[in-house]
């Protein structure tokens, strides 16, 4: 069997049935769009000067096609968070370019950049970054309101998304009344509220136990099956292994780029030493 056919089969197996809550009619097929959704060219970010100069990100070239789930891995301090901040327009490169949906974003002015970020990028952080005094639903509504949606539209979208992440019954709770895994699911719903071109996640399971980690990974898998482009940064190999593609970062430089077709069982089969 060819690698491609196995890949497609693996993906459709994972996608599950058509009533999967995240496989809506807006599903984009992976790999169908023309250019990459996200592109970095010679992307660099240095901190400090002279002897204290740190090249946190150092000449990264990266294309993320539509529908791809990309994991960036590497040891602590290799530049993962800095790279993600650059890709998301939360930080400015000292050199190089970032393109989102065919548009160059690194030289936009602050206001234009803030608008693009709000509309086209969903962020998920290790420590959730929810507003403590707002309910789950209000946290999800907020970026929609900021992007100009009517209160009614924002409310409807938030309700739909909280349902999709399995938290319909927690909509009126404050973050302090939710578990870590539930808070992260609220944060993911919030990241999706403006239907972003890409979701960027920095150590999304870093504060979660293994059961909650599984829940979040299942959720990402469903998002991806629905065509969502996703870039996640993680030092956890088990999290990275659920992506379509893993790149390794070492001292700010891309060191390896591996495609995964995780749907199969060929390698697992070889672990079974059955001599019958």
């Amino acid at each position: 069997m060819s690698r491609d056919s196995r890949r497609i089969r693996g993906r459709s197996q994972r996608r599950g049935t058509d009533d999967s809550p995240l496989a809506g009619p807006s599903s984009r097929q992976p790999g169908e769009a023309s250019g990459p959704v996200l592109r970095a060219v010679g992307l660099s970010r240095a901190y400090g000067q002279d002897e204290s100069l740190v090249r946190a990100v150092d000449g990264v070239d990266l294309d993320v096609p539509a529908g791809q789930a990309l994991a960036v891995t590497g040891p602590s301090g290799c530049g993962k968070s800095t790279l993600l901040q650059l890709l998301g327009g939360l930080d400015r490169p000292t050199d190089g370019e970032v393109w989102l949906g065919g548009r160059r974003m690194d030289h936009l002015g602050e206001r234009a950049l803030a608008r693009l970020r709000r509309r086209a990028i969903g962020f998920v952080f290790q420590s959730f970054h929810l507003m403590d005094e707002l309910t789950a639903a209000e946290n999800v509504e907020l970026p929609a309101l900021l992007a100009g949606a009517s209160p009614r539209t924002a409310r409807n979208r938030a309700a739909g998304l909280l349902d999709r992440v399995g938290l319909a019954d927690r909509a009126r709770h404050l973050p302090s009344e939710l578990s870590g895994g539930q808070r992260q699911r609220v944060a993911i719903a919030r990241a999706l509220v403006n239907e972003p071109l890409v979701v960027l996640a920095d150590e999304p399971t870093g504060n979660l136990d293994s059961a909650a980690t599984h829940d979040i990974l299942r959720l990402f898998d469903e998002l991806r099956a629905a065509g969502q482009t996703l870039v996640m940064v993680t030092h956890d190999e088990r999290v990275a292994a659920t992506a379509d593609r893993v790149v390794s970062l070492r001292d700010g430089t891309l060191a390896d780029d591996t495609r995964l077709d995780g749907g199969g069982t060929t390698r697992l089969g070889s672990l079974l030493n059955w001599e019958g």
């Binding site: 059961a211 990974l217 190999e237 292994a241 001292d251 390896d256 995964l260 995780g262 390698r267």
Partner: protein, 180 residues
């Protein structure tokens, strides 16, 4: 063991005693269980198989000319094949470690390239385990097994990171070698 002995001989013909010393250095406390007799048994088997021959040392550093073991053409082929073959997810830590040592000593392969290839192999295995784990209830029997497999593959990947750090600090031409 046979492959390791062959690979160490690829660097230069050597006496059984030297070979054991190099193995012990690479294996640390694990090597102390390896006695000289075992090394000679291995060398004798390799000789019978036509993979090594005994020859006289060219120019002894000191003392009389000793007999040293050298690779035959068939031995060289087998070492090259061993270096190139993927270790598979089952391969154990010691075997892969010795492969890296032998690769570096013999110059037949770049240890960092072996590390990269193994990382890819392991992450692909881990991808299968993780996708299967996500499809199964964590508390089911299958889920429990998949959890164990994923944890072991993760441990192997973490150890590879340490291998990469150490070997890139040593390799003059490897990536990262210029920085460290």
């Amino acid at each position: 063991m046979q492959d390791v002995a062959l690979a160490l001989l690829a660097k230069e013909p050597s006496h059984g005693y030297d070979l054991r010393r190099r193995l012990v250095a690479a294996l640390g406390p694990l090597g102390e269980t390896l006695n000289a007799g075992q090394v000679y048994v291995t060398l004798t088997r390799l000789e019978k198989a036509g993979l090594v021959v005994q020859e006289r040392e060219d120019a002894p550093v000191r003392g009389p000319r000793r007999k040293v073991y050298a690779l035959t053409a068939a031995g060289q082929e087998r070492v090259a094949a061993w270096m190139a073959e993927g270790a598979g997810a089952r391969a154990d830590v010691t075997e892969f470690h010795l492969k890296l040592v032998a690769a570096a000593e013999s110059g037949l392969a770049d240890p960092l390239a072996l590390v990269d290839a193994r990382r890819r192999e392991l992450i692909r295995s881990l991808a299968e385990a993780q996708h299967a784990a996500l499809a199964h209830d964590t508390n089911s029997e299958a889920g429990l097994l998949l959890e164990g497999i994923a944890l072991r593959l993760q441990a192997d990947l973490r150890w590879l990171e340490a291998c990469e750090r150490t070997w890139s600090a040593r390799a003059p031409r490897g990536k990262g070698g210029g920085k460290g």
